[in-house]
């Protein structure tokens, strides 16, 4: 018989420490849906996505019941839409509406893949897709968009960086009456991964199979609760070991659920993304883990080191628990989605510059950060360029998901509700980077790219 303490530990993790499976994401390739007639292309996409994902939500709910573990989101990611658009031409927003219809028909929380990969330059369809993002995110509710503007191999496409600054601001403006929510569904990447199950940055890469299941686990609350039981004088090797052990247990849940979902749906199992993804709920915060390690408040000196330890230990613990690890895998630091980060940002202890440093050691980048409404597109572009540079040089994924809060100033609040949370408008450095951004062109790939 199983040990009673083990059983109670699992139940406590789920009931009191917010352990959950954050998402089951079905990746679906659209390569066989491309047609020179855009309407026909949209029809094929609708038909294929609905056929593949018809039972996704029901299967997720069945697994939730069987194991007693919540699966918070069921999502779909598709091939970057710039590819079918390159074949069909026409108004890209038609694809946005078709995907929105798919999301409604399948009952999923989000559908991602309104994307373009332009790290080295624009191919057919890319520019039109990028230009249409503000409108596409305004006329849809469930669609998520991402653009990859740089990579370690290709360098940074600064023309795309410049354009994305304008697109982020425009998207926020068009959805100003809905708390600028459009910008919260748009991510700008460097080194984007092709099997990421997390939104808003999920898309189904062209190297992926026709259809697959990727799982994202979560559990900052569990890690924090485990650390809380450790004496305050335990050294950091012990802290790292405890995080590893906990991450192992969390990841095993992801592996179990992913395998089961893939079997039930008859779709290959892709990867488990070992991420600590916070939610605004009390007790589900990455910042609070750092504080549990001994920082008075997230954002103080020492935060980057603590985060580096956490991020590394999560990976080391998780990697043995799953047969295939992928996606972003690490600790997320989305400000508006993390109760501890929100508090630290509100009282001015957590600044944009510190967050940027943290992104050099965490799994992604500047995430869910609310900027003043008068932030210029050039400043947003410069923020994107800084992040992309960190990603490019360190061979890691970085991303920017910032929300210019139209009509609001530093100290005001923007509230999205749900998992996206709420956040204070953060201070931004207004000194002009305009000339640098307007130069355009490409930042050459660094020496690190020459590994052959």
């Amino acid at each position: 018989m199983l040990n009673v303490n083990d059983i109670m530990e699992t139940i406590q993790m789920i009931q009191e420490e917010n352990l959950d499976i954050r998402t089951i994401t079905m990746g679906i390739s659209l390569l066989d849906c491309c047609d020179t007639d855009i309407d026909r292309s949209c029809e094929k996409i609708y038909e294929k996505v609905c056929r593949k994902a018809e039972h996704l939500v029901a299967t997720g709910e069945e697994i939730e019941k069987k194991y007693g573990i919540p699966i918070v989101n069921k999502r779909i990611s598709v091939t970057p839409v710039s590819i079918p658009l390159a074949v069909s031409g026409g108004n890209p927003v038609k694809y946005a509406l078709a995907l929105e219809k798919c999301a409604a028909a399948c009952g999923v929380n989000f559908i991602g893949g309104y994307s373009a990969l332009v790290q080295k330059g624009f191919a057919a369809g890319d520019k039109a897709l990028i230009d249409s993002i503000p409108e596409a995110l305004t006329v849809t509710d469930h669609l998520c968009s991402s653009v990859n503007v740089g990579s370690t191999k290709a360098g940074i496409n600064m023309d795309a960086v410049k354009r994305m600054g304008e697109i982020v601001v425009r998207t926020a403006q068009l959805t100003a009456d809905r708390n600028c929510i459009g910008a919260a569904k748009l991510v700008v990447f460097c080194n984007a991964v092709e099997d990421n199950p997390f939104m808003a940055g999920a898309f189904h890469g062209v190297g992926e199979p026709d259809c697959e299941i990727n799982v994202g686990v979560s559990g900052p609350g569990v890690v924090r609760a485990a650390l809380a039981k450790l004496p305050k004088d335990a050294d950091l090797t012990e802290v790292a070991d405890l995080v590893k052990r906990t991450a192992f247990k969390i990841t095993r849940m992801g592996q179990l659920v992913g395998k089961e979902a893939s079997q039930k749906l008859g779709v290959p199992f892709g990867i488990v993304d070992l991420s600590l993804a916070p939610t605004p709920a009390v007790g589900d915060s990455v910042a609070h883990i750092l504080e549990e390690m001994g920082l008075e408040m997230c954002g103080c000196h020492g935060t980057t080191a603590a985060l580096a330890l956490l991020n590394d230990a999560v990976k080391k613990g998780g990697v043995m628990a799953s047969s295939h690890v992928g996606g972003l895998s690490g600790a997320f630091i989305p400000v508006s989605e993390d109760a501890g980060m929100i508090d630290a940002a509100r009282c001015g202890n957590l600044l944009l510059e510190k967050l940027e440093a943290m992104t050099a050691v965490c799994s992604v980048g500047l995430d869910m950060i609310v900027l003043p409404g008068d932030t210029t597109p050039e400043i947003v572009s410069a923020i994107i360029a800084d992040e992309a540079a960190i990603g490019m040089v360190n061979s890691k994924t970085t991303a920017v998901r910032v929300i210019p809060a139209i009509g609001k100033k530093i100290g005001d609040e923007l509230s999205f509700g749900g998992l996206l949370g709420a956040g204070p408008v953060m201070k931004v450095n207004y000194t002009s980077p305009d000339v640098f951004i307007h130069r355009g062109g490409r930042i050459p790939a660094p020496l690190q790219s020459l590994k052959n």
């Binding site: 009673v4 059983i7 592996q255």
Partner: protein, 89 residues
Amino acid sequence: MRAIISVVGKDTVGILAKVSSLCAASQVNVVDVTQTILQDMFVMVMMVDISKMTVTFSDFSDEVTGYGKDAGLVIHVMHEDIFNSMHKI
């Protein structure tokens, strides 16, 4: 196939009898039972065989947890695999 039924709450007469009879009604066989008092709370962990179960897992789970709600107990019915995968390598 086995599942774990866990019951946590204030100790009262007939918890074990009631849960067992719910199991019997659905052809769920009780394999093992452990019960203890942890910090004044009654904790019972029951391992059951569900391979001959006559209802769906979901219906069985709803029925048992429904009884728990009425009786002021927290009851979870979870497939054994979740514990095995978390605690055994």
